[in-house]
Symmetry: C2
Subunit: 423 residues, 2 copies
């Protein structure tokens, strides 16, 4: 037995780490840079929408432009997140490079004209598209393509939300309901940390959501409050049911659009008109766009759910309606930032009903609704810790795990497989 043979079982996994370092770091650096460009453009678009309110009336036309662009040149990229997850499960046609510019520009347009949408879909598609391109360039085989695509998801997710460890776990967890496999553990971590670091290096930061509850607690000194835990459990189940409502409403609205307008490129016109109608009927623009920061301190917005003393009882339901109407029509973006809004809003409302700290419950809803809708409870617990600190770890886990159980097998990702059924 040569020295090399003897060293192989010790060095093998480490040599693999080296190889993945060379492949993943450049990929994630590109994805992180694109995410920085995307977040910067999104900020500019949101500011422009607030400065020029009349832009909203362009929403139907902007939607039709997006519709026709995807119809003419975007067909292979139309699957979006589902295409990437499908290619990880059964590598085949690959993920086209054109997905990156298409999703970036169309998401910014959606936000500029006031559609209610998010960011994670865009980030994941930027990641998948760049990973797919690099895989073709380096002639990776199917097994390697799978791993690089997972790294792409991790890089996009980690960069766009500033939560690298959650990004790495999300990429492993989102593929299959009820199961995580560690095949791509290290490539996903490298990709997510690199993506996040590069995005920061471009000077792009993230909004900080302050949770005063337990923020000053000493690490390791957690004491459980049994009554609060029971309230958190009730809220967790509510978050899961709301997640299920969101997933099922999304699919239902899509079916209705298809029945109403069989020709896809024109559907966004209907969606745009519905959004304009809702804005006039409700007399508020709070539910347009990304919804992270409100135009006024009283507005319903993710940040205000954490800091404002105003309780918003039904904001979460209105945001859900605006979002399913926008995305179901064919506008682009993601579901996750609206899910943060809906969750934080529902948490804010439930904190009033249950007599619990509003900032804690906004934080729990923020991650738990997403955990239920994407079936990613562990990634969401870690995301909660990365965003809000370690103090509420037990409450985060309770809310996310229960939301995961209560959301059933419906999912915002139709290409997700069921590994271990919930029961």
């Amino acid at each position: 037995m040569t020295l090399r043979d003897r060293a192989a079982p010790w060095a093998g996994p480490m040599a693999a780490v080296g190889t993945w370092l060379c492949l993943t770091v450049p990929m994630a650096a590109i994805v992180g840079s694109l995410c920085a460009l995307f977040l910067w453009s999104l900020d500019r678009a949101t500011q422009a929408r607030l400065d020029y309110p009349w832009l909203l009336y362009g929403l139907p036309v902007a939607g039709v432009v997006i519709g026709f662009v995807y119809h003419w040149v975007g067909r292979p990229a139309e699957g979006g997140n589902n295409l990437i997850v499908d290619q990880i499960h059964e590598p085949g046609g690959g993920v086209p490079l054109r997905m990156a510019p298409l999703i970036l520009v169309s998401t910014v347009i959606t936000h500029l004209f006031g559609g209610s949408a998010g960011r994670e879909g865009t980030a994941v598609q930027l990641g998948g598209s760049i990973a797919g391109g690099i895989a073709r360039l380096c002639r990776l085989d199917a097994a390697e393509l799978r791993i690089l695509l997972m790294g792409g998801i991790a890089a996009g997710f980690g960069a766009v939300f500033g939560t690298p460890v959650a990004g790495a776990v999300f990429a492993l967890e989102v593929l299959t309901i009820g199961r995580i496999e560690y095949e791509a553990l290290i490539p996903c971590l490298i990709a997510a940390v690199t993506g996040d670091w590069v995005c920061h290096a471009w000077g792009v930061g993230h909004v900080h959501y302050p949770v005063a509850f337990l923020a000053g607690a000493e690490a390791g000194g957690f004491t459980l409050d049994g009554v609060l835990l029971a309230k958190v459990a009730i809220a967790g189940i509510a978050f899961g049911l709301a997640a299920r409502l969101f997933s099922e409403a999304s699919h239902l609205v899509q079916t209705l659009y298809k029945a109403l307008c069989p020709y896809a490129p024109l559907r966004p016109a209907i969606g745009g008109l519905l959004v304009i109608g809702l804005v006039h009927a409700l007399g508020t623009r709070e539910y347009l766009g990304i919804g992270v920061i409100g135009a006024t301190p009283e507005d319903a917005s993710i940040l205000n759910f954490f800091i404002s003393p105003v309780v918003h009882d039904w904001s979460w339901l209105w945001k859900m309606l605006f979002t399913v109407i926008t995305l179901g029509a064919g506008f682009k973006g993601g579901e996750v930032t609206p899910l943060f809004f809906i969750g934080a809003g529902l948490g804010n409302a439930l904190s009033g009903l249950l007599g619990a700290p509003p900032d804690l419950f906004a934080a729990l809803g923020f991650v738990a609704l997403f955990a239920g809708a994407a079936n990613t409870p562990l990634a969401c617990v870690i995301m909660g810790i990365e965003l809000f600190g370690a103090g509420p770890t037990v409450y985060l886990a309770t809310a996310c795990f229960l939301a995961y159980m209560a959301s059933g097998h419906s999912s915002i990702y139709l290409s997700q497989r069921v590994g271990i059924a919930k029961r």
Copy 2:
């Protein structure tokens, strides 16, 4: 379709949560109480060992007593942790109730006379034994027994270390290398939180390990230090290799004992004599017992690796030797607290070599060596967060994931299956 049929897919998983609540809470309350009794006894035994140094010379005789008790009445419980993991994979003979008193008393005896051992094996066996007893009492079927046994592991682990979320994830993760399945997600969380809460309710606390590095950082405001990350990556690989050395040395020493003394009950006498010999050869008692708190501020101990300015270059290797000699001979306890010691000690030593914060590196080694030896990277990241706070999450994940990769397929748990091979 009746209302009940319509409600079933929504209510099903929630009804299951209710059932598991009724089964798991009483089980975990008993396990948490036994863990409290165990931790209290362990403290008394450790104090007595320090007060009466001559107790060490009773170690060989105490070991032979443990050996004969297990030989005469403990045969069905001898498998320990491996028996529980085997029963989860292939439910069959069950886990005997006598495992609980046997492991509790024999672990306390091991510590009273100065054996180098830990706590998690005892806690996991208390959990598995009580869960097995309740499963027989309630006539659970094989699938339910599996889930209750996982809950028992979670309750014991969560209670003994004061890390409930890590306990829940550990119980799911330890069964199979490279894969987590969510079948028992909620029962494990209920069990771990209950076990931890009950243990605290008995007034039993845990030692706090202070990590000043990043402790004051605002949640969500993490900025990566690239040079430090590279040092953490090097340390993570070293932790994984040390974990592998520990696993392989444990198995080797066991084989040597068997060759040297085919009659099992007498092996602890040899082990006891070896420990006494080592104490006299080295002229120090630092490596005896649990090793959490040192007798003097200069002693090698887990807490001192975090706070003392003294750097201990080879403490980790000596502790490894003391532990494999103690446990391989048939003394009882667990491997995990010694792994914390070895990891924190190696982290302390590496911080000197690499020019890095000693408290951070002690914390990283604490969880990462365990992640490599037990193949449980996610549980160990969460454990690190629960013990040391959210500040170093990215460094914890880097160290734990790399240690997991570098440790190969060897494991302190021989009954662990390989799900997804590392490569």
